[in-house]
């Protein structure tokens, strides 16, 4: 079993209950898409799976260990085997793309190698190879602040591909890309997961992308799991209930949203 949540509860510092009693088990090598309306708890769920957030109640088991029972050092070692792709990639504006990508392996490198890598990039070929897969090889030595939102998202993806984790998590990885690019990028992610035998869990706004690329779909609503089915069994009635909104007259069409706020870098 690659990961397992048992009765996981998450309350943020501001008192909001983001997740209420989530049970989820995902086997090694599975590919799962998480869908649901805005504010349903998709990002919080991925935060729990990435060991970035500690559950307020319930248990988390990742790659055979409970990260919150481990000592800090062992937890950092566990985290090197988990990669999280952020919706708005947190990259310093003046950092160069090559450095941002190579930073994916910081957890596996010694401090000495990490520092030397700042003076001269130690694996230009490796960084170029992952960027080329995302059609971004020409930006190798550009600064992050010179890139567009969609290009930045791909740099964030390239970093995690370079990290090559066993558990690959993605929070809205293609939200700032056009539909064609989004489709291509998701197939790159899926292919990477398949060839490396990695588990892939991604949250997506675009339902059709989720159905096209992922064999298993988990619907999240109000911090709970609404349904958990193979993609072939997901029908319009399920989606209508998932996205139903009491305040809006018509349910919002789940499409690729391009107007997401991407910070300066």
């Amino acid at each position: 079993m690659s990961l397992r949540l048992t009765g996981a509860h998450l309350q943020h510092g501001n008192g909001v209950h983001a997740l209420r009693g989530v049970d989820l088990a995902i086997a090694a090598g599975e590919r799962v898409a998480i869908i649901g309306p805005s504010g349903a708890g998709k990002s919080s769920l991925l935060g729990l799976l990435a060991s970035a957030l500690q559950p307020s109640a319930g248990a988390v088991e990742l790659l055979g260990a409970d990260p919150w029972r481990l000592k800090a050092r062992a937890r950092q070692r566990l985290r090197t085997r988990i990669g999280l792709i952020h919706q708005a990639p947190p990259l310093p504006p003046r950092q160069r793309v090559v450095t941002a990508v190579l930073a994916g392996k910081l957890g596996q490198w010694s401090l000495g190698r990490s520092l030397l890598n700042l003076l001269y990039p130690s694996d230009i070929a490796g960084a170029r190879e992952v960027l080329a897969r995302l059609d971004l090889a020409d930006k190798l030595f550009a600064q992050c602040q010179q890139l567009s939102g969609g290009q930045l998202q791909r740099v964030g993806i390239a970093r995690v591909l370079y990290q090559a984790p066993e558990l690959l998590l993605a929070d809205e990885p293609v939200s700032a890309m056009d539909p064609v690019l989004a489709d291509h990028t998701l197939s790159v992610l899926c292919r990477h997961a398949e060839t490396h035998g990695a588990t892939l869990v991604a949250s997506l706004h675009a339902v059709e992308l989720a159905l096209a690329h992922f064999p298993r779909i988990v619907g999240v609503r109000d911090g709970q799991i609404a349904f958990d089915r193979p993609a072939s069994e997901v029908n319009q009635a399920l989606l209508d209930t998932l996205y139903a909104n009491e305040q809006l007259v018509s349910p919002p069409l789940p499409t690729v949203t391009l107007n997401l706020q991407i910070p300066r870098c």
């Binding site: 510092g13 999280l84 930073a103 910081l106 957890g107």
Partner: protein, 274 residues
């Protein structure tokens, strides 16, 4: 008619302004500030005579040689003092800054209680180092190591270590923490995550503050010259005692040049990093 809600921040702002004024007034009273003295006729003529002696600035060959030597000594005191201060300030800032907290990365930016408790002694050390003015340290070291630049270097090193350490720690905390947190969540060590996640954002601010402090160190080394710690200050002290206004004027012009130099250097470095 629709009644608009009142801005909820208006009342607290008004009260804070009133409080600030109420605190400032007794402050002026306590400081015995009386601007009327400046306008009194006898103090004006006194100041006028003092300033009139400044013209023309002294510029004969022998004095300029002396001035150059004293300026170089001042620069050397300031630079050596800063270098020693950095040796203490950088590790102390890393220890004292909440930005390097590992637990903050998984707690929405709030560091754990245990880590905070460990940061306090370092903060206390930095407070102690900078709470004693450098002139007092200089007086102390003049007694310990004798008259000369060494006392000035040590005094600057100690006080500035405290100031640099505190401000560095706060600069680390003031930049975007998400890049560092993302790296920590990817299993990276603290120092590596700091260098890749915080330093690129903080670099220009750090350089700007460091060059500004170097400029302050130049001024401080001059003040300490008055108590016998060498450099331009000692020369000014001598010239003032001999009522050589022209010499004082030349040295003040030298200061102006030094500060201009520091300003230009800061601009150049920030331009490179922006």
């Amino acid at each position: 008619m629709l009644k608009h809600p009142r801005d909820p921040a208006a009342l607290p702002r008004l009260l804070l302004t009133l409080l600030a004024v109420a605190l400032l007034w007794p402050g002026i009273q306590l400081a015995e500030l009386d601007l009327g003295v400046l306008l009194a006729a006898d103090s004006q003529s006194e100041m006028g005579r003092f300033v009139a002696a400044f013209w023309p600035p002294q510029h004969d060959r022998e004095f300029l040689d002396l001035l150059l030597a004293a300026t170089l000594q001042t620069l050397a005191i300031a630079t050596a003092g800063m270098a020693l201060a950095l040796l203490v300030a950088v590790p102390a800032a890393l220890l004292a800054s909440r930005a390097l907290s590992l637990s903050a990365a998984s707690r929405g930016g709030r560091p754990g209680a245990f880590g905070q408790a460990l940061r306090w002694p370092v903060r206390g050390l930095l407070i102690f180092l900078r709470s004693v003015p450098e002139i007092v340290w200089a007086l102390l070291f003049v007694r310990a190591v004798g008259l000369g630049p060494t006392a000035g270097v040590l005094a600057i090193a100690i006080t500035y270590a405290g100031m640099l350490g505190k401000v560095y720690a706060e600069i680390f905390e003031s930049v975007d923490q998400r890049p560092m947190h993302a790296l920590l969540q990817g299993g990276s060590g603290r120092l590596a995550a700091f260098v890749y996640g915080i330093l690129p954002n903080a670099a220009s601010e750090l350089v700007s503050y460091t060059v500004y402090r170097w400029e302050c160190a130049i001024r401080a080394s001059v003040v300490m010259g008055f108590v016998g710690a060498g450099g331009l200050g000692q020369q000014i002290d001598l010239s003032l005692r001999m009522f050589a206004g022209g010499e004082v004027a030349s040295m003040l012009l030298t200061f102006l040049l030094l500060v201009l130099l520091a300003d230009g250097l800061s601009r150049l470095l920030r331009g490179r990093l922006a």
